[in-house]
Amino acid sequence: MSQKEPPGGIFGLSYDRETEFFEALKLISTAIIVLVGAWPIYWMTQLAFTEYETVENSITVFPTPDIFTLDNFTVITEPEMYTYMFNTVVVAIGTIVTVVIVSLLAGYGLARLEFPQKENFARILLIGYLFSPIVIGIPLYQIWRSIGLLGTRVGLIIALSAVSMPFAVWLMWKYIMTIPEAHEEAAWVDGASRWRGFRDVVVPQCRPAIIAAALFAFALAWNDFTFAQILLPQTDTTTFAPGILRAMGQAQFLPDAYLMAISLAMTLPPLLFAYFMQSYLLKGFQVRAL
């Protein structure tokens, strides 16, 4: 660095000015993120609490007392909608359980056991990212139909679990590698079997990774539209996303305010997870699991 000019900030600003400039930039950025990020959720919420006749034809920004109502939420108790939501919950739980169990086992094997072709297996896992719901779903439609899994929740759970697998297995693998093997060895010395060591020593320490994998599987299952649309063609077993779209196509009149109300109900679980579990989510991604 030359001696003539004193070291300085960018654009020739002094350090103090640079800091001020950055603080201002940060503040503006934050405002934009909050505005753009929270806006659709706010809009959905306020429409859900507004009388549906008002929502259909005019623009309101806040449910003032004269148009405020809770009646929109009665749509949730309709048997059809209730079934869709119930199915979504079942599929999400099924996917989480499958993903966590399978990825814990595979992650343990990859981290602790030696077997041939291990490296190649890990590479093949990455190809899992190429599974496109539509590319897989179209052939799967006939395959599931011929083995009787078409229109069952189990069929959908299997498909979603496989799609979540590459992330979950990498995560577990990398995470278990960070746990010292000495912990397990101590258990073996005390006479524990490998299985016992896995169950009582490794699994309890994997809690952050399990939560991260579960969150990811949940997001996938809760989000899924394509697989459910193709693999659950009947109305009574379908999940929320394709179900609501079909209901919109078939219903004579389905007010937007009702749709917003049920959407709000479906948004709450992810919203709570995002707030309370974000540290696990970031921790999961920090181990460079891909």
Binding site: Y15, E18, N57, V135, F225, L271, Y275, L282
Partner: protein
């Protein structure tokens, strides 16, 4: 007896002659742990792709179990239908456009979230929610706000900025449908980039920046020499993943426009879906699926050869 022969006195299950087997016991256990993954993969990937290839060689009506062998006729037809090339092109426009926006916005959000001191948890929750809420809800809100009577963005676009006529639905107009799809998709999926890069940013030790500060580096230099090199690897991986995901994106397009108006937003996944259910040509749809798969495989291989993101992936912490 057991103690005489020096065997374990622990109760044992059925006798397995481990020592006589040609494989190590650990190998068996290791393979057994990954077996469920392999079974799932075979069931969900290998089998369907093979099935799709086999089906693509036949002429199949979607609901009719009769298969008629036609050889490569379906592929010839795929190459000849005009919508195929148009869909491929629109798919690439959609993929490139939304990946670029997501990369820029996602990186920017991660940098801001990483430096913010107050309300970080709440802001992170707000940002993450966009990724976690179901696509259908994003679509429902978008359909509401872009719908002519009572849609706030429709009104703003028409009356404030004069982008479209007052009674038209922008999602149903040829000019706007694709642009809006890119923007709405980016709103949701930019967060994916943020999550990955934010995790990386959190992993950079503060002492690097302190050292740089003592040496007289300004913020831009710190960003260029410390932050950016650390992020490069993950950014390459994320760009690959996002491109693949956006190219394959079916849900948000189908929910918002169903490929319309006309074919203005029909990308390859939408075309394949329409071929199954509207066209009832199951064999032809499988041919499209196989073409899509090959395209993805080829682009992934090229990408891996160019940047080798797996090198980044395989490093341990």
């Amino acid at each position: 007896m057991a103690s005489e022969t020096g065997e374990s006195i622990r109760p044992r299950g059925p006798y397995i002659p481990w020592d006589d087997l040609p494989v190590e016991r650990e190998t068996v256990a290791g393979v057994a742990t990954v077996l469920p993954v392999i079974v799932l993969y075979v069931l969900i990937a290998v089998f369907p792709i093979a099935f799709a290839f086999w089906a693509s060689l036949h002429d199949i009506h979607t609901l009719n179990p009769e298969w008629e062998w036609v050889g490569l006729e379906n592929y010839r037809e795929v190459m000849n239908i005009a919508t195929f090339w148009g869909s491929l092109w629109r798919g690439i426009v959609y993929m490139v456009g939304s990946t670029l926006i997501q990369l820029v916005v996602g990186l920017w959000m991660a940098l801001v979230l990483n430096r913010i001191t107050r309300g970080q948890k709440l802001l992170t929750a707000v940002v993450f929610t966009a990724y976690l809420i179901p696509t259908i809800i994003v679509s429902l809100v978008a359909l509401r706000v872009f719908d002519p009577p009572g849609g706030v963005f429709q009104m703003m676009g028409a009356e404030w900025f004069d982008l479209w006529a007052s009674q038209t639905a922008p999602l149903g107009s040829r000019d706007w449908a694709m642009r809006l799809l890119i923007l709405i998709g980016s709103w949701k999926f930019a967060v994916f980039v943020t999550i990955f890069t934010l995790a990386q940013l959190r992993a950079i030790p503060d002492r690097f920046y302190e050292a740089a500060k003592i040496c007289g580096a300004n913020r831009w230099q710190m960003f260029r020499d410390i932050t950016l090199p650390r992020l490069m690897g993950i950014v390459l991986v994320v760009v690959l993943l996002r491109s693949i995901f956006m190219f394959n994106k079916f849900d948000i397009i189908w929910q918002l426009t169903q490929g319309g108006p006309g074919n203005a937003t029909t990308t390859l996944p939408v075309l394949a879906y329409k071929t199954v259910y509207t066209g009832q040509e199951y064999g032809l749809a499988n041919a499209i699926a196989v073409v899509m798969f090959l395209f993805l495989l080829a682009s992934a291989i090229v990408y891996f050869k160019l940047f080798n993101p797996s090198e980044e992936v395989e490093t341990t912490t």
